[in-house]
């Protein structure tokens, strides 16, 4: 257990050993469809496809998927509501096409978020980072991102431990103590991150690996069947959306 539910789900997913490129094709295709297709029925179909694939064949826990959607949902709700309220000379009111506008915005945002979550809950970050090299991102940048990914779980663990100890000592019993504890907590995490980085560097240097920790990336072969099904499914989704949207217009 890493402490991040989405990351835990990715490591435990039935699609964990599928090629990251295959999953990027599927999720990327769904994200683009959510962005460019009409909200009805395009966004609905994209959202349903992402949720069904995640909870079905990829075996992502429904609770994890549902909890993860809560983050963007709050922003989407507030943003969409704000966008359809008008401020005129007569005070507050609704935009003329408020329902359609809000529906379209919420639909494409929820569908896009579900498509990104499909990738996030089936592909650990350590599988995605090597793909950045193929996009010509400099090796040094990918190395820094990899170290960030590895260290953040150590720091999150430190954060929880220190906060637990502070709470047990009544560190958050009043607002004033809460502020002081939060400052000390952030400082403790920062100094621990420096200390951890220094000790890792000393350990690597002692083993003659002064340019960083080089590891063999796991090879996850691409599946022609999965790719063909993805392209066919996306084409069907686009066609159906355009036909239904055209009939409704």
């Amino acid at each position: 257990m890493s402490g991040l539910a989405v990351d835990d789900a990715a490591w435990a997913s039935a699609w964990r050993h599928r090629s990251p490129a295959d999953k990027l094709l599927l999720s990327g295709g769904l994200v683009v469809c959510a962005l460019v297709l009409p909200a009805w029925p395009g966004s609905v179909l994209v959202g349903l496809t992402a949720v069904v694939l995640a909870l079905g064949p990829a075996r992502v826990p429904a609770r994890t998927f549902g909890r993860a959607v809560r983050w963007p949902l709050a922003f989407i709700a507030v943003g969409a509501l704000t966008s359809v309220v008008t401020v005129g000379t007569g005070g507050l009111g609704w935009a003329p096409d408020a329902t359609a506008r809000a529906g379209s915005l919420v639909g494409s945002a929820l569908a896009g978020s579900a498509a990104v979550l499909l990738l996030a809950t089936t592909t650990p970050m350590s599988d995605l980072l090597p793909a950045l090299r193929r996009l010509r991102v400099p090796a040094a940048v990918v190395e820094v991102a990899s170290v960030t990914y590895r260290l953040l779980f150590v720091l999150l663990d430190s954060l929880r431990t220190v906060r637990e100890a502070q709470t047990a000592r009544m560190g958050y019993s009043t607002a004033g103590r809460g502020w002081r504890s939060s400052g000390a907590l952030a400082a403790a995490v920062l100094t621990r991150s420096w200390d951890r980085a220094r000790r890792m560097q000393e350990g690597l240097a002692g083993r003659g690996m002064e340019t960083g920790l080089r590891v063999l990336p796991e090879v996850l072969p691409s599946s022609p069947g999965f790719r063909a099904a993805t392209v066919t499914g996306l084409a069907a989704l686009v066609s159906l959306s355009l036909v239904v949207a055209g009939a409704a217009a």
Partner: protein, 226 residues
Amino acid sequence: MHIAEGFLPVTHAVGWTLAAAPFVVHGARRVVVEVRERPESTLLLGAAGAFTFVLSAVKLPSFTGSSSHPTGTGAGAVLFRPPVMALLGTVVLLFQALLLAHGGLTTLGANAFAFAVVGPWAGYGAYRFTRRLGGGLLAGVFAAMVLADLATYVTTATQLALALPDAETGVAGALVKFLAVFALTQVPLALGEGLLGVLLFRALTANARPELERLGLLAPAPEPAR
């Protein structure tokens, strides 16, 4: 506050990505040069990225009764400078999108422009200005963290207003709406983050003075008289 996936039209998503790209590429080049000259920097920069991510998991007591989370880019800009934060901030945003479902992939460029470019530069500018006026480290850090947070929030509100103009009053009306709605959480958060920065750097001054001296934030302590 990050713009969620699918919230921006394609043209806006592409436009903000192009706007953020030069800053992120510049940051990446700085990191490549730094790592080439000092390979041990890889781990320190990775630690800085992880700290920025983890800082967003620190719950702050909110003035409105609930709790909120700092962005951490102001502290990062003071400690590691804005060009490096442009890259680290973008990496952190990518991780937040894929590990916390916070933000998105097509909105990564827009969020990077607000969170990793405008925020750190505004924060660092406020820090340098305060120090030049004679303010101490803590005053500079407070200004940096408040300004970085406010600049990020104003930029995000502007991005939303440009994408979703008001039916009657256009972009200007939409900007007023988004600024007003998000001010309820973002203004108290900015002040809270400034306070957190003061407490953070006060603790660092007491416990990690050599690191702050090495980063050029504090003058080396004078040798004790013999």
